[in-house]
Amino acid sequence: MSIQVENLVHIYDKGMPSEQIALDNISFTCEDGQMVGIIGHTGSGKSTLLQHLNGLLKPHSGRVIVGDVDITQPGVPMVQIRRKIGLVFQYPEYQLFEETVAKDVAFGPKNLGLDEEEIEERVREAIELVGLDYEEIKDRSPFDLSGGQKRRVAIAGVVAMRPEVLILDEPTAGLDPKAHQDVLKMVREVHERTGNITILVSHNMGDIAEMSDKVVVIDSGHLVAVGTPYEVFSKKEELRRVGLELPPITQFTEKLREKGIGIDSTILDVDTAAMQIAQYLKKEK
């Protein structure tokens, strides 16, 4: 399973004074098992891009090829596409509607037309996968849960469909630091357990740098950079030009280098930074 995005163009309100090019010639690919991070400011076209990946929006030109199917072609059954690609929207807790958590998580699998037993098994699995206690939570109303729990339940609702590609649009938006870390940890666990493509959208550089195998940077509809986190975050000037900062730890090590401390140029995680600084200190002695 892979996703290929080729020369994607999308224009909002075509023909109106408010016409706006949301995506301008975007191309990149996602390979099996990759964790792909998409970064960009609010309004950069991230969410628009995601909605093309599972066929909710149709591009004005360009192609999106999922596996071996071009989903931008008319007549492709969307139900099939959505079965393969699970999309978790921003603030997914606002889509909860059922009386109980279990019923809500079962909504997706039910729409796939599975039988009762299969649904129950998937619901249990999904709820446990997002780090909640199935027995404890299944009969509670989703509206009585805490913010972080609601978000997990909503993500479980998509995970329960067992998509081959899981897309999360800012899964940590509006959460407190603890819940933020928990949700990211959960995303990583789900990714490792399923071994599928996971696409993570965020404007938190640190999270993206630490988690992804591949980074896609977009700014006002344009593709700014694609590559491994190391490649992308090495292009400091380009990132700054579009108003994006480096991850905090990279900024820190940059400052150290400016002061003449001999460590590698682009360091993306705290552990590596710590090791390098330790080595440097030993050498100095």
Binding site: P17, V79, R82, L87, Q95, F97, F107, V158
Partner: protein, 266 residues
């Protein structure tokens, strides 16, 4: 699909029509509507249509955009048309079983259809060329004299402002929720009526929850800024009639006179 609804939508522009005082535009629209009901022949409609056409041309709102707003009332239009054409007695033109078309019926049907279309196009011009906020300001000012007999003019205007303000927000919210549920495999298009109605539950429940949340947040924000109703509130932009407004009123009076004379004559 949801974006197709034009009634109550603003089309950004900077034409004379856009810049007219909202009070003038509201009164002009009311007059235009009353006019459509005074008119009893096709020449009158032709005059009204030409005037409306001129207003549309000056406003620079694309005609296709206004016509798109007519789509939702197409069914009502066809229904009235069919009702009139078959139900009116008179000189029979065509008959098949109990269905008959009469000359009078045909005339009335066309008449009503034109009236409805002009009515809708005319009133949507008001909302297309006036920012919702200035529209409600205009309404508030026009209702102000009624305050003396206990009409809560400010409250009505504020309620309308809020309602108008949140139409796009709620539409956006609906769109978002629909997409989210579609991403979970929900199907809103196929199935019979009951299945379709049931398919709406996953949209309506979150939508209501959102609406209450938004309302609560708004109430809190208003209270935090000491909102206590209309008393002693001053405005940043005072409404004042300008030269172009007097010209518009003059043109409106001419239009009124022409229509009244025309209906008397023919």
């Amino acid at each position: 699909m949801i974006r197709d609804i034009t009634l109550g939508q603003y089309f950004p522009g900077d034409s004379v029509i856009h810049r007219l005082d909202p009070r003038v535009k509201i009164i002009a629209t009311l007059m235009f509507i009353i006019e459509l009901f005074i008119v009893d022949n096709f020449i009158g409609f032709a005059i009204a249509a030409i005037c409306l056409g001129l207003v549309i041309a000056v406003s620079k709102v694309p005609l296709s955009f206004i016509l798109r707003g007519l789509k939702p009332i197409l069914i009502i239009l066809m229904f009235t048309f069919a009702l009139n054409i078959f139900m009116v007695d008179g000189r029979i033109l065509w008959q098949w079983g109990f269905l008959k078309i009469t000359a009078e019926g045909l005339r009335l049907a066309v008449f009503m259809a034109i009236r409805l279309v002009l009515l809708l196009m005319g009133s949507s011009m008001l909302t297309l060329c006036t920012r919702p906020l200035s529209l409600t300001d205009g309404i508030e000012r026009l209702l102000a004299p009624l305050k003396k007999i206990g009409v809560p003019a400010h409250e009505i205007a504020m309620m309308m402002t809020i309602a108008l303000r949140f139409i796009p927000t709620l539409l956006e919210e609906t769109d978002k929720i629909m997409k989210a549920q579609q991403a979970r495999g929900a199907d809103f298009e196929t199935g019979n009526l009951i299945q379709k109605a049931k398919a709406l539950i996953p949209i309506l429940v979150p939508l209501f929850v959102s609406a209450f949340r938004i309302a609560q947040d708004l109430a809190m924000a208003m209270e935090a800024r000491c909102y206590r109703g209309g008393d002693n509130r001053t405005r940043m932009h005072e409404m004042k009639l300008k030269g172009r407004d007097y010209v518009a009123v003059l043109l409106l009076i001419v239009f009124l006179a022409v229509i009244i004379i025309e209906t008397r004559l023919f």
